[in-house]
Symmetry: C2
């Protein structure tokens, strides 16, 4: 992959792509979003379970982030009309696909660490 090739490719990059990158970045940035997503993906679906699974997170931040993730269509909040009411947070289909982004991040992060040794 030559430099000139890369640059010309980038010059073709439409506005939509920039928007898409920003969407993705918004979904995963902040101190708690990845830990929360990881915990849900790992199998924790209830508020208390997620809270217990993430060290030092406050209820305020957990609520706030869960709401934002729901609003962004990454997770879904299910209320089960049992007694007592049970609430479960689960990844949406689209949310599950974010693993591909995390994979790319792992790959880059690992090889970058090696390169800076």
């Amino acid at each position: 992959m030559s430099d000139l090739q890369t640059i010309s490719e980038i010059k073709k990059c439409p506005v939509q792509y920039v928007l898409a990158i920003n969407d993705t970045l918004n979904v995963i940035s902040g101190k708690w979003k990845l830990p929360i997503l990881a915990s849900i993906l790992y199998g924790n679906h209830r508020y208390k379970d997620i809270q217990a699974n993430i060290d030092k997170i406050t209820p305020r931040m957990l609520s706030k982030e869960l709401k934002e993730l729901e609003l962004n269509g990454v997770i879904i909040r299910n209320v089960y009309d049992s007694t007592p009411v049970r609430i479960e947070y689960k990844m949406t289909e689209s949310g599950k696909n974010i693993l591909s982004v995390l994979d790319a991040m792992v790959d880059w992060g690992v090889s970058h660490r090696k390169s800076t040794l």
Copy 2:
């Protein structure tokens, strides 16, 4: 080959996985990192050119972020001993590879937008 093997091994190890993702996230998060990287990739290498290319960025933020990107091994700052002194910021090899992460982010962002219509 043994590299790929190692990467997949590390993916099984939660701690390394998390560290690598955090490294990557730190490199790209914040308001100005992506615009700066994009501008450099686009062909702007000098301070004033990057500044002129990015709307509303202040010199303070540009300096701060350039320093951080350099410290993180994503870009390199070259001082050319000419008169006047010329300074050029360029992507490191590792820095260029971050395009693969951006690609994954575009893909997810685009398909996620479609899914939430």
